[in-house]
Each structure stands twice: as C-alpha cells, then as structure tokens.
Symmetry: D2
Subunit: 464 residues, 4 copies
C-alpha cells in the first residue's frame, strides 16, 4: 500500500472520521483561529501518517551499545525537511510574546502538541522538542544580539541542539536555592566549578550549547539573587560528560540524561545571560509554557495508549474464556474512565494555556500548577491500564506503552515533585481563609438573628 492511499483508507474505514479540529472541545473552539485549525489538521496528518510510522525506524537506526550515542537516526532529517516544507516549524513560540515563531497562541499550539505527543519523532521533527523550546525562549527573551546570533539562530533553524543544566546530584535541587555550582568572576571571565545531572539532551552529538544555572553570589542574603545563568558551549575545556542516567531501563539515546562535571571551566563574561543574580527570574519565565507543552504531549500519549488498548481488546486473536476482551465489563469501564479522565485533564490544560495567552505565565500560576499535577497522574493511569490489557506484550518493546509510561513517570518529578506543587497550591488556596471565615461568621450572625426573630428553636449550631 502506498502512503498516498493512507488518508483515503482512513476515511473509508469509518465513513466520517473526525478531524483533529472536530475533536477540539467545544468550550475551546471559539478561541482557535482558522489558520490554527488548518495547521492543527496538518499536524495530525503529519504525525499519524509520517511520524508514527517512522518511529520504529528511528529506534531501529539507533542501534546498540556506544553507537547509540555517536550519531542520530538519519530518518530525523527527512522528517524535519518534510515538516519545514509543510510549515510545521517552530510552532511553539506564542504570538503574543515572540516574533520568531509560527504565530500561534499557547492554546492553539497546545492542541498541536497533543498530537506530537503521540510520536517519538514528531516534536523534534517540527523543531518543537524540549529542552530546545525552553532554551530558545530564554535566548529570545533575554539574550543579547550576539548571543541570539550565535545560538538562537541555529536552534531556530534546527541545526544544533541544546541542554539546560540546573539539577545537581548532591543536593535537593527541587528547591532551586540549594544549587551549588559556583561561577566566580576572574577578570573578564567566569570560572565554573560543580556538578550537574539530568542534563537532558546533552547526550546528543548535535548538542552544542549548555544553558547553565549556577551561583555568582552564594552569600547574598536574598537567596533568590544568588543565581545566574550562563551559556557554556559543549566541549569547553574542563567540562566532562561523565555518564548518562537511565529512566527505568531506558537510556533515551541519543538524547540522554547526562551527568556533567565542571572543573575550572572558563567562559567569557559575555556568556552571562541578562546579568548577575538574575538566574531565578530567567528560570521562572521559562517554566510556564513548557509545562503546558509537556502536559499536552502527555495527553497525546494517553490518547495513543487508549487507542492501543481499544485495538487490543478488539483483537480477534485475543479471546479469553470464550470472550473478546471488549465484552468484559471491567475492560469497558477502563475505557470509559480513560476517556473521561483524558477529557477532564485536557480541559484543565487548555484553560491554563488560555490563561497564559490572556497575559502571561504569572497570570496563570494556579492553572499551570493544576495541569502540572493532574496530567502526568492521569496519563500514567491510562497507560498502565493499556499495559495491563496487553498482558506481557505491554511491558516490553513490542508496544510503545512501557516506554511512554517511563517517560511520563519522570514528569511527576521534573520541575518539582507533585508534592511541592500541591503544598504551594494548598497554601495559595488557604490565603482565602480570612475572607471565608469572615463571610461564614456574618452568615451565621444573620442566620442566628433570623432564627431569634422567628422565635423557633434552632436546629444545629454553626461551628463558625
């Protein structure tokens, strides 16, 4: 079968399949432009017809052993060329904050990112893969012209890749004030010493630039002014990539999650981003939209897992005890709950994206936190049901399920563990306490007065 028949067959198979645009929740529809609708449908087509079929080839071209880190699968360049030609390039830079991107809103890009999340290759093919996306945002927002020319341009062109180096192995770096890598000014240079890990993407031979967070002023009383961000080219003298960390048993080559040592690494003062002591400001600006991207891709992964589950439980070869799996009530309940949980999570993320679009990420702290916490837990649950419905096939390399699960499991930890976000959300919500207590107290007083006037015996006694 030629690929050109594919869409037609897809159409034929079910009479009237829904387009990606048809599947936008109606409550979000009004905020999506016609141009975005077209791009969204194109993204879905590109992902389903080009990227997903290429995923197995991508993994196969990776090979084994050291080879996995020495090059990258050639099919990626073919996909990138196709995406560029289709105009599906740098879709992530939102129109109200950047001029360099494709000009969509966070909401619109979020809808597209969902489809990218269904394929191992799609995000990178469209130059929308983390951590490059966040790094490009940092450079576009805070970089000098020279920094932009040197690093942002090739990143926007998809010629190089990048890594973001914040987390450290020896401290609890979910509290970012704990980081210890030192950046000491010496003349016109800074000297960097310390250790980083979970430097995702640093394993890739195309990764040319590290965006590094360290401390220029570790004794500043304001613990949020101690940090700075600098640009360190990969391969700078004194930088050693010590090893790559696995995620469950996956090495995630060629991307990788590196542990990197800095020993007297010297970089020119011009490599400083924004200025000394402004590291926190930079990373905070970086986090919001990235969480939306992760969340929407995870929703795509959950949708994919649900598709695979449905495919399995309708597989005529997989009857047990005389029944198709789709006839088992428990399985139908899994499917129904998965549908419901995915739909609820998607609305939470789209609402957060629109809240960012209204103003900026600070405007949407609550909504982003909700998405950050809800989505990975939902996706893990849905994927795990799919794994279970596949039996042993679900845990191995014959489905994308186990790998998707492992990837998304890290999202409950990355950018701060769920629990830290929940504590912060709880504290913020609790700020309403004075207002609430006063309101309830007044309601009680008025109510008591009404009962007194009416001369009846009160039922209950308000506790407040």
């Amino acid at each position: 079968m030629s690929k050109s028949d594919f869409s037609q067959n897809l159409l034929a198979s079910s009479g009237k399949p829904q387009t990606a645009a048809d599947k936008i929740p109606i409550i979000a529809r009004g905020a999506v432009s016609e141009r975005a609708i077209k791009a969204l449908n194109l993204v879905e087509k590109f992902v389903e017809e080009e990227c997903i079929p290429a995923d197995v080839l991508y993994h196969s071209q990776l090979g084994e052993g050291e080879k996995r880190w020495a090059s990258y699968p050639p099919v990626m360049d073919e996909l990138k060329a196709k995406a560029k030609k289709l105009g599906l390039w740098n879709l992530f830079l939102p129109r109200n904050h950047f001029t360099q991107g494709a000009g969509f809103s966070n909401l619109e890009y979020g809808l597209m990112a969902e489809y990218m999340g269904k394929s191992r290759t799609a995000s990178e093919a469209c130059n929308c893969a983390a951590p490059d996306t966040g790094n490009m945002e940092v450079l576009a927002k805070y970089g000098t012209d020279a920094q932009k020319k040197q690093w942002l341009t090739p990143l926007l062109n998809g010629e190089i890749r990048s890594a973001f180096l914040m987390t450290e192995p020896d401290v609890a770096s979910s509290d970012a004030t704990n980081i210890t890598l030192t950046m000491k000014r010496e003349g016109n240079e800074y000297v960097l010493n310390g250790s980083k890990w979970w430097s995702s993407g640093a394993g890739d031979p195309r990764c040319k630039i590290y965006i590094v967070m360290g401390k220029t002023d570790p004794n500043n009383r304001d613990t949020y002014k101690q940090q700075s961000v600098m640009l360190v080219p990969a391969g700078t003298k004194g930088v050693t990539v010590q090893r790559c960390l696995s995620v469950y048993g996956y090495d995630d080559a060629p991307h990788g999650h590196a542990q990197i040592k800095f020993e007297n690494v010297r970089v020119p003062a011009s490599a400083m981003v924004l200025g000394e002591g402004r590291g926190f400001e930079i990373i905070q600006g970086r986090l919001g939209p990235g969480r939306i991207h992760h969340a929407m891709r995870s929703i795509g992964a959950a949708e994919k897992a649900l598709e695979w589950m449905i495919a399995r439980v309708n597989d005529p070869r997989k009857k047990t005890f005389g029944k198709q799996l789709n006839e088992h009530g428990v399985i139908l309940e899994w499917i129904a709950k998965s549908r419901l949980e995915i739909d609820a999570a998607r609305l939470i993320v789209l609402n957060a994206a629109m809240k960012i679009d209204e103003k900026d990420a600070k405007n949407a702290l609550k909504e982003i936190a909700e998405a950050k916490v809800l989505v990975p837990q939902m996706a893990l649950t849905v994927i795990d049901r799919a794994v279970q419905s596949y039996g042993a096939a679900g845990v191995c390399q014959d489905t994308p399920l186990a790998n998707m699960w492992a990837q998304i499991r890290t999202l409950r930890i990355a950018d701060g563990p769920d629990e830290v976000h929940l504590q912060q959300m709880g504290k913020n919500e609790n700020k309403r306490s004075r207002e609430i207590r006063e309101k309830l107290e007044r309601q009680r007083q008025i109510g008591d007065e009404m009962v007194r006037k009416a001369g009846v015996r009160p039922v209950g006694k308000s506790m407040l």
Copy 2:
C-alpha cells in the same frame, strides 16, 4: 450588624474579593453574555447574603415529627418574593429551546446553578428546583395548551410543586424498560395500577401534580414503545402516599421521597402527554439539562465544603499538637487536591452545557455522561475531606457537610447508577475500534516497509 452592611464588609475584609464573574474559567468566559454576567453576580449575592443565612431558619421552621410534612417553612415564600423581585426566576429554561424562561443558555444557567448548590433554599427560591424544573420542561415541550394552562402556568409562577414518578420498588428500574405500572385504556379514561417510589417532592403539601410513567402497551415488541407518560393530580382517588424514604437518616422533609401506591386510579385520556407509547421519548428529552443542573449544584456544594474546610483549619481554637491544622502538610494537600478536582469537574460540566447549547442534549450524550459520572464522585470526595477535617462536628447537624454528602451520594444512583453509564460510555468509545485497528495496521505496514528499505534490524515488533 444589618444585612445592608454585609456586602461592604465582605468587600472590606479582603481588599478585592473576586466576583462570581471573575471566577468563570477563562476558557468559558467568551461564551457568557454581559446580561448573564450581571445575573450571575446577582445570584451569588442573593445566595450568599440571603439564602445561606436563611438555611438554618428554614431547617428550624421545619420542626419535628408529623409537623415536618404538614406545612413548609414560611421563610421560603419570603425568599421567593425577593428572588422574583431581583429577576432571578425560572433561570433554568434555556433560551434556544424555550420562550418561558429568563433567556439564558445552559452554560450561563450552569454557572448560576453552581451558586444555588451552596444553599438548601436557593434553588427553590429562584423556582429552579428539581423535580419541578424537569417537569416544567416536559410540559413546555410536550404539553397540550390545556395541560400547560392547568399545570405549567402555576409551576412557572411557583404556586404549586410537582413530582416525577418513574422508579419502582420491585424491579431494577435503572433499566426503564422494566417498569410495571399499568395504564389501561377504558373508554375515555385510563386506569392505573402499580407502585412507585423515590417520588421526590411528593411529600410536600404544595405538590399538586404527578407526572407518571407507566405501560400502556406492555406487550409491544419494541420495548421502547410500551411506555407512556400521564398527568395525575395528587390526591386522585386510589393514590396512596404510603411512606417517605430516608437518605442516610435524613427524611428531606417537606420535600420527601415518597412511596406511592396506585389502585385503580382513573384519569381522563386528556391527561396523556404526547400520546401513547411515547414515554421513552419524553424521559430522554428530560434528562440532559437536569444532569447539568445537578452537576453544577454539586460543584457548588463542593466549593462550599472547601470553604468550610478552610474555615476550620484556620480556626484558632482548633490547634492540635501545637499547630494550626492549616500547617499540617496532609491538610494542605487535601485543600490543593480539592481545588484541582473541583476545577476539572467544573470544566467538564461547562463543556457539556455548551455542547447542549450548540444543538441539543442528544448532541452531548458523551459530555453529559462524563459530567454525570465525574461530578458526584468528586464532590463526595471533597465533602468527605471536609467532614474529616471537622472531626465529630462534621458528621452531625452543626455543619451542612454530612447532609450535603448524603444528598450527593444519591446522585451516583439517580438517573442510572454510575456503572451503567460507564458501560455505555465504554461501548460508545469502543465503536472506534475498527477505525483505530485499521489505522494502526497501516502505520505498522508503512513502518515495516521503511525499516525494510533502510536495511536495519527492527527493534520491537508491532503487536497489531
């Protein structure tokens, strides 16, 4: 303190409290008219300042023993007069389907219903209480002019109340084809025999009309054509209200949940709604919007429970082990999760409401089912956390929590238990199986071909 000071104090207490309109999720904002915004703010004010303070009086006026069923609390008529004056009357009849209501969309009314759900008295005060709402919809949609004049007009005016009699004690009536009450044509009359229960509202002395589902043609091969709906005045000869059922110990007087016996009850043929055999059609049309109302009120109840929880854990008299409860991490997590779960559920319901607004309830079967299943489970969880944070006070009459929990617990059963809806949702979702299986098969074929052409060893083996 006079009530007129109340709003000012509310305002004063927290600088800049959010209005109800401010709290509309941004993703829904665009679909809410200015007129609805105004009404919504007015509803919030009415509920918080008038209805909630009146709730204790309402309960106190109910009294004890038989008295609870003989009259109804006088405060209700005062509240109704106020609501009418404020224009907060019959808000529930959506503008695209009815002319008699206040002219709001389901989405807009949904937002208002949330606030009504925070008070025992608010829905009735605004003439928006079940089962009258659904019954008015039935009469407005399907009633003859005479039927409308006799029953719809006084219902719209809030002069009488009504009950809907479908469920039966001796069969599994979650499958409505199982009902057994017979309606036999004899000349110009029908003779009704059978038993109904959970006839909510039939305990109220103001309840004047029963909308009764029975079988006119129990042997019709089409099991969905056997049923008819008739209008039976309360007190018709042969009708006996046998007893009222409790809900976790609550009698819900004066409303009540009655068990009612029909022994040779004769009604004129003109009491038939729409025509013989059209009972299913009628009840199906009745269900959609009502589920949205229940769901939004439950969300209001959950918000109220969260407010009470926050009030408690900030109560300076309630320190344990040297700490305020709001300093306990577990409690903060409860608050955060409650916030998140409420917000997700609300989006699901608002999306369903908007889907109905787009066309009709049939258009929104999936979305309504999602709301039906998700919201009560969410609200029960949130309320139960609040109960737990109150300790013993939470289970008794001193907070509204235990009663709200019991009310909402019935929603997991009413209109079909969760499990029936989940099975149906699962089956619907599973209808995508052919389309999905074909898509995955084609993706696999193309992928295999790519791997073959590239001449590399494949990793994994697609299971499909």
Copy 3:
C-alpha cells in the same frame, strides 16, 4: 416457619455450611481454645437466629419523636435474658487481665465480636456494648471497692448503662491535652464546670453513671498530669443534657450522643478514680482493647454488607439489560475485592489482638494503630459498594447498609482521626532511620570495595 427449623434449613440449603469456627483464618486457629470455639459457634447462632431477626423489631419499638428517648425497646431485655442463659455474657473482659469476665483472650473475643457487629442488638444483648465495656474495664482496673460495688456490679449485671465524657465542643479534643472542664477541689468535694459532647449512651434512660475526664491541675507543667477522671451520677445537680447530636441523619436513639453542660456540679472526693492527675493513665489503658472490639464489629458489618450485596446481585427480580447483576464483571470484581479486603483487615486485627494477649496494649501500639486506621476505611468501602449495588434501596431504611455506613464513618474520627494515627505511625517507623542509614551505608561501602577489587566499572552509584 418456627425458629427451631431455622438451623436445619440453613444446613439443608447448602449441604455443608461452614461454622464460625471453620471460618477462623488458619493462621489464627492454633491460638483459639476449644471452649472459645464452642462459644464462637454459639455466638454466631445467637446473632444470626435471634439478634438479626430482632433488629427490625428493636427499631420499630423505638417509635418516633420524644418517645425514642423516654424508654428503650422491650425486645432488648428478652435478648439479654437469652444471652445470659446461653452463657454469652461479659465476653469482652480478657482472661489475662480480669477475673470478672467469661475468660476469653482478646483474640477469642475478637472473633466473637465480629459476629456481634452484624446486628444492631447483639453487643448489648451480650453486655458487650460500648461504652460500657471500656467503662467496666476502667472500674475493674482502677476502681475502689466502693466504686466497684456501686457501679461495676450493676454494669456487669446489665442493670444500668454508662457514658464516658471526654470530648469537648470548643477545643480540638483529638489532642486530649486540650480539654478544659475544670475539677476544683473544695473541701471534701470537687466542683465541675465545663461542657462535653459526643457523650455516647447518655441519651439512654438506663444510663446512670458518667465517667468524666477533666482538669484538676490545669497549670501543671507536665501537660499529661493535669487531668483526672471522676465518677458523676447522671442527674447530679448542675448537669444538663442539652441536646443529642445526629450522625448523618441518624439520632441513634435511645443511646444517643449527648452534649452535656456542667455548672457547679459537686461530687464527693471519693468519686475520684485512681487519684488526681492520673487521668491520662486511665484513658490510655482504656483505649487498646476497645479499638479491637470496634474493629472486629466493623469487620462483621462489612461481612454483612457483602452478604447483602451478594443477595441483591442474585435477586432474580433485579435483572438489568437482560442480565443478572452477578453476571456483570464489574460487580464480580467488587465482590472479589471486598472478600480480599475484609480478609486482610481481619488478619491485621487478629494479630493486634494476639499481640495484646501476649502482654498488654502498650505492647501492641503499632498493631492496634494499624487496625484502627485500616478497618474503618475498608468497611466503608465494602459497605459503599453494597449501597451502590442496591441502588436507591441502599441509601434508605430498607437495608441496614446506610446506617452501618454512618456508624462506621465515625470510627475514622473517634479516638483520634486517622491522620493523627498515621502521623504517629510514621514517626515511629521513622525511628529506624539511624539503624537503616548505617546499614545501607555499610552495604554500600562493602559493595564498592567488592567492585573495586574486581576491577570492573561500577553500574549505578549508590545514593546513600
């Protein structure tokens, strides 16, 4: 059918039904004496054949309104007479700590209490009902001869009932150091002032004695020496039973949960138990076995709920969508999980009971806490499934389910909320940290040394 046919029929119906003894988990069997086996089988028979059938009569005899508190159902005295005759009396006082009881171990009595938990009337019929059990333990352990003669003897004979007054409405009394009722010595008397609530059993006209916890020395630096326990006869001047609290909508008459005011209540100094400042010591000794009793009765309630669920899903009148409920996979999974969860919880409680038997309740703090936390949550889950399988019938007075749920819901709060116990359990478990950290550190050191000696490249890096 005469009652004498009952056992025979029971037997006939299934060939070979298991006795209560047969159902003892094998791991506990060895610790149960032959005498206990016989008593256990007798308890089951008494509960199933006498008490459960009498439950409806008990409720019916209670009547309505004020009458519910003025007397108690006459059937209770008949049941008590039967139980005494069968030797099923005061079974709860464990043989290694008391001489007054029937001479069983906590493990053995626990097995019996499970069956009592299946009936509203059984525990009281066997003089094994809370709070009398705990109060009799206090009197037997700490009472003077005079106190024993006056109060313990009639309690052991089932002639009077009693209440335990600790919890207070205005403080967070889950932390018992917070109680405020004052006990001031004046000459040969103490003067009591303060308020108590949740004084369970104080509603009963037979309740003659209150065991009251208060503060004799509120300024003692040792916050655990401020409290004392005194015996206050019901009806003492200055004592006012203000109202009874409901549990969800149940009033639990005639037992009741009273709010009681103490205004200058004078009691002789001889009413002091054990001595001033020894209140904590007394309540701590009181708590352990009582938690086992509650837990085992809750397990009985869960077993009863499971029986009712099975009865329902096999009811031929209750087919939905052409199937018996027992053919629905989801329902079968509920049954299976209920079986499993009940069995696991029972083992936890029996193990705790045996740990008490080995020495005393202090020996079993961890095990008792595990039972305290696990059992109510399990029972609530199982009962809620049964409610759901009954549909609307499950929430009302036509099954024992809703009432059982409400009763057990209070156990997540009584004797300290779950969360307080979990925090304490967590802290205790965390005391192992030094031992564990040292062990892991040594393992790491030895392991590193082995790797070094072997001259291979280490995989992973121990975090510890």
Copy 4:
C-alpha cells in the same frame, strides 16, 4: 571496614535491633519451628551482609552489549558456595511434599523468601530462584527416575538452570487452553512446532533444559486434556532463541525473557512428563507455592523500598524549603501507610502458605489468589512512593527502586492478569448466594413475625 565488623556495627547502631525472628508477626509465630527460626536469622544475615553488597558487583560484572548474554557474573558462584556452606540451599521444597529440600514448611520458607526478595542475587545464591524452583517441583513430583537423574539432580545441585515454556506470542495465553504449539507423535519421537515467548531464564548460558507445554491432542473435546508437557534440551536442533524481551527497558540479562521458535524439533517419547494429555494437571500443581514465593519476595522488595525511602527522607543533604523530608506530614503518611499495607499483605501471604501446609495448594485456592492479587499492587504502591521521595534519583540506576518496580509490575500479569483472578474469586464467593439468600429470607420472615406479634408499626422493609 572489614565485613566481620559489620554485624557488630549493625548491633551497635541501635542498641537492640530486631532479628528476623523477632519480626515474625505474632499470629504466625507459633507455627514456626526452632530450626526454621535459626535458618531465618541466618538467611537475613546472609542477604544483608553478603548478597546485597554483592548486587552492585553482580550488575557491574554483567557488562554491556552481547557480553551480557555470553556469561554470567562470577560473584554468583562465590555466593552459591557460601550459601551451601551455611546450609541455605534448596530451602523452597516443602517438607510435607518433598524429601529433597531443606525440610521447611511453606510458611517457614515464605518468611525466608521475604529476605531473599531484598537482593538481586540472594534467591539464586540459595538455589531458590524461579523458574528453577517450579521446574524442580515438577520434576520431583512427576518425573521418571531417568528424567530426575538427568535434570533434577543437576538442578538441585545448582549446576544448570532451566526454563518453563508456556506463554505464546500470538494467542491470549492467559487462558492456557489457547496455546498452539503442536507435539505430534511420530514413531518413538514427538515433533514440536510453534512459538513461545516470555521463556524466562532461557537467555542464561547455563540454561540447559526447557520444560515445554504444547498440544498432543488439539481436537480433544475436553479442552483440558489436549495439553502435554515435554522436556526439551536447550540447543536441540530446530530450536531458535529469536530475541529477548525487555521489561520497561531492562533486559534482565543474563536471565532474559526469550522468544523461542520450534521448527520440526524432535524429542524422544521418553521426554514426555507424566503422560499425554496431563499438561494441565502438571501446571496446576506447579502454580500454588510459586505464587507464595513471588509474593513473599515482593514483600521483601517493598520492605527494602521502605528502608530506602526512610534513608532518603532522613538524609541531611536533602533538605527542601528548610525542612528535612521526614518532617513533611505527607511523607510521614506515606511511611505509615507503607508500613500498614506491607503488614497486611504479609499476613495474607503467610495465611495462604499455612493453608497450603495444612494440606496442599488446592486447599488454598482462595488464599493463594488473594496473595496473588494483593501483594504486587501493594508493592508497586510502596516502591512508587519511594521513587517519588528520591526524585530523579529514583527512576535511574542509582537506586534499586525503578528496577524492582519493573520486575514486580510483571507479576500483575504473569500467571494470569489480576482481572482474571478477581473474576474467578468473585464467582467463587458468589457461590454462597443461595445459602445467603435463604438465610436473609428466613431472618426477614422471623423478624416480620416478631413485629407483627408485637403489634408495632415496622420501620423499613427488608428488601429480601
């Protein structure tokens, strides 16, 4: 530090650490012999002091790429020699069924297996590793003398390893009647054709014998008589190990999970076990004790995860937001719940083991199923909490947590997915329905009669 100091230090660190024997739940203590107590303490010492430190070396010696499958880590032979010397060898064969083992009961061995589950190397070191254990049981129970001599003896000596080949890639083999590998008699030989996968252990170069399930009589009307079991030496002509399957990215080398093709594989008729058509009988006998072993090892893994969690949250380097993790209430609750859930699961397994000891595995079907379903879900929950408390370190190779999680995740699928077991458990429990319905009906009748005689108005109406 020399290893000889280790125990002393362990002791010193905490005054009086509990021995393994001290930690036996009291309810099981009576059934454990003195000899077993000694062995148990020895097992703990061997695991903690020898095996766990050796685990990192074991993984390190495995190396990378093809090398991982070509040999096995030399440290294993050292550990085996030590275990043999200590008498910790073939502990698994229960004394009431076999003469070849160490003479312990299933309960006693279960206690030991828990400790083995804390180490990657311990089970194999004691010659107690799956699938050899089950295979040795099959050979000991059903093998001819020749079969025993050829295969059982070297297995008992730990000289060779083995695999069990049942699951097939193209069918739903959780229903074992679905298997398709054919075994055709031709003269004095059988010819085998078909495909197997998840043949665990077949990757190991020491694996010399496959125990293969196939169909000798695929058309037999009795679908449980079609299967036979044969012994096929690894390397037999026509047998191809095609690939090894991964488990969440882990290859589990050198053990491995192989996919194996049989093409006209010829084995002598003497390789048949027990006789044609007796395959089902053999695998059923094989399953019970193996599930106990898996379950107890999983409990050991959960205990280890809890130890690692406690170590982390007390790590002074890992403060966040000014607090040690052990001061966060949420973390303390995780620790407490983990303690409770592990303890409950252990009692379920020990009770099942004792039930097998009483007679045999058939006697304990319910209890084994409970252990099979409960334990993996519990262990996954506990381990996942530990992962979360470690943050990024938890998902990678620096802790044993991610790998343990992946291993145990397969247990929810192996030997039949949880859902199949739950359905079966539900059906079995539901067999009580007639007995229960009759009992409840009689109780209702007697109760109604009592109410009638007493002449009171009945409250409620029994539904049964």
